[in-house]
């Protein structure tokens, strides 16, 4: 029973979904046919996640994003104390040959930055929802969280996005 309950709660926490193979993909890359999406988080269409706990919201990029970006080799994060604005870029990650903007899903003030990412940018790949968090923000408008997607909606969004390409 205990094992079944553990398995059931794990299955709820980590949703698996299938994305169809995008037509313009390199032939050697078989589809990464699932993404992991966690309960309890909110998600932006630009593939960032937010975890709101009390007066602080933690922000990072999703498993789907890091999977599509490839190996992250450099992370640019802002200074603590600065503002972030919903939908605007606050930093960037470098992977392969590309720098990609990371956008804040909410507005507020940065209260903490994950300085481990300077020495260990790969944390974004290995632990996108935990050790790979990027910034912590004091939200200035908590109602902005309501317009973000929940886990089911985000899973569907990723599937549709991959299928459309």
């Amino acid at each position: 029973m205990a094992l079944r309950m553990w398995a059931s709660s794990t299955a709820n926490a980590v949703r698996l979904s299938c994305a169809s193979r995008p037509p313009l993909s390199p032939a050697f890359s078989l589809s990464r046919c699932f993404s992991s999406v966690l309960d309890g988080l909110k998600y932006a269409t630009s593939h960032e996640w937010v975890k709101h706990e009390g007066s602080v919201a933690t922000i990072g990029i999703t498993h789907h994003a890091q999977d599509h970006l490839g190996e992250v080799v450099f992370v640019e994060v802002p200074e603590s104390g600065g503002p972030v604005k919903k939908g605007s870029s606050f930093g960037a990650v470098e992977s392969v040959k590309a720098t990609s903007d990371v956008n804040s899903p909410i507005s507020g003030e940065i209260v903490e930055v994950n300085t481990k990412l300077t020495e260990s940018p790969g944390l974004i790949n290995s632990s996108p929802y935990e050790e790979g968090w990027m910034i912590k923000v004091k939200p200035s408008n908590p109602s902005e969280l309501e317009s973000l997607m929940g886990p089911k909606e985000y899973t569907k969004f990723c599937e549709e996005e991959d299928a459309a390409h």
Binding site: A92, K97, T99, H165
Partner: protein
């Protein structure tokens, strides 16, 4: 492509330069990526003088022979896109594509998808030349690199720019160290064993014409005159903060000093 088929293709502004300084070109590109909503193709047929250009995360002490760079007063730029370090000069041809995220059907705004599509685009350019392909993230003939790529991806747009080695001076390559992060197919080869000259495969003007034609298969191309100096002057626009910059001599001297100290500690 027939005129009928070109109807419905997204518009792309085509800007052609000759010998524009690479810093001005990069400032223009960054500004167009961030503030324009049009698609752009920029072709700069050579830059005016030898310049080192590093990617966003590049560290001078790791990537450059700083003593030579400082002695010869070679400018060093850090650009806004990712990727490695190149030395560019009048023999380099630059081709840049700046696109809205949905401009190319089937291309997702992620590095591998954009890179793969670019490989197909240049496959059209080099059709009939044996050995051309996209290898890891470089354009090669066989095993030798002649084109290096870099990208930057924003929420709604992306840029993919390439420096093509139509010709180069062997001596200039000596400013670059062997990078610690290199493609597997490089196999620790020195610069001279790793790269090749595009001029051995295709005349300069033919390459540019074929590139414009290939782009015309995917976009409705509109040639445009742009005063790069006016745009460069406008870089001081308060609404836009560019990240591409020329490194100061003091920064390079400091990097050399630090790496010399580190070497002394190790020995």
């Amino acid at each position: 492509m027939s005129q009928a088929r070109k109807v419905g293709l997204p518009l792309m502004n085509l800007v052609r330069f000759n010998g524009v300084p690479i810093l001005k070109q990069l400032h223009l590109e960054e500004k167009l990526l961030r503030t324009s909503s049009d698609n752009w193709c920029i072709i700069n047929n050579g830059t005016n003088s030898p310049t080192v250009v590093m990617g966003l995360s590049g560290k001078p002490s790791e990537l450059l022979d700083l003593e030579s760079v400082l002695q010869d007063q070679v400018p060093v730029i850090k650009r806004f896109t990712g990727g490695g370090t190149v030395i560019v000069d009048p023999g380099t041809i630059f081709v840049t594509l700046i696109c809205n995220r949905d401009a190319v059907p089937g291309v997702q705004p992620y590095p591998r998808s954009i890179m793969y599509w670019s490989g197909m685009l240049y496959g059209e350019v080099f059709k009939g030349i044996d050995g051309f392909h996209l290898r890891e993230n470089d354009y090669v003939f066989g095993n030798s690199k002649f084109g290096g790529n870099a990208q930057s991806i924003t929420r709604e747009r992306w840029i993919h720019h390439t420096s093509f080695l139509w010709d180069f001076k062997a001596g200039n390559m000596a400013y670059l160290k062997l990078p610690s992060r290199a493609p597997e197919y490089r196999l620790a080869r020195s610069h001279m064993d790793f790269i090749c000259r595009m001029k051995d495969y295709m005349p300069r003007s033919v390459f540019i014409d074929k590139t414009v034609n290939a782009i015309g298969n995917h976009f409705s191309v509109k040639p445009l005159d742009l005063d790069v100096n006016a745009v460069a002057a406008d870089v001081a626009d308060a609404k836009f903060v560019h990240t591409t910059r020329l490194l100061m001599k003091e920064e390079l001297e400091e990097a050399l000093s630090v790496s010399t100290r580190e070497l002394c500690h190790q020995s």
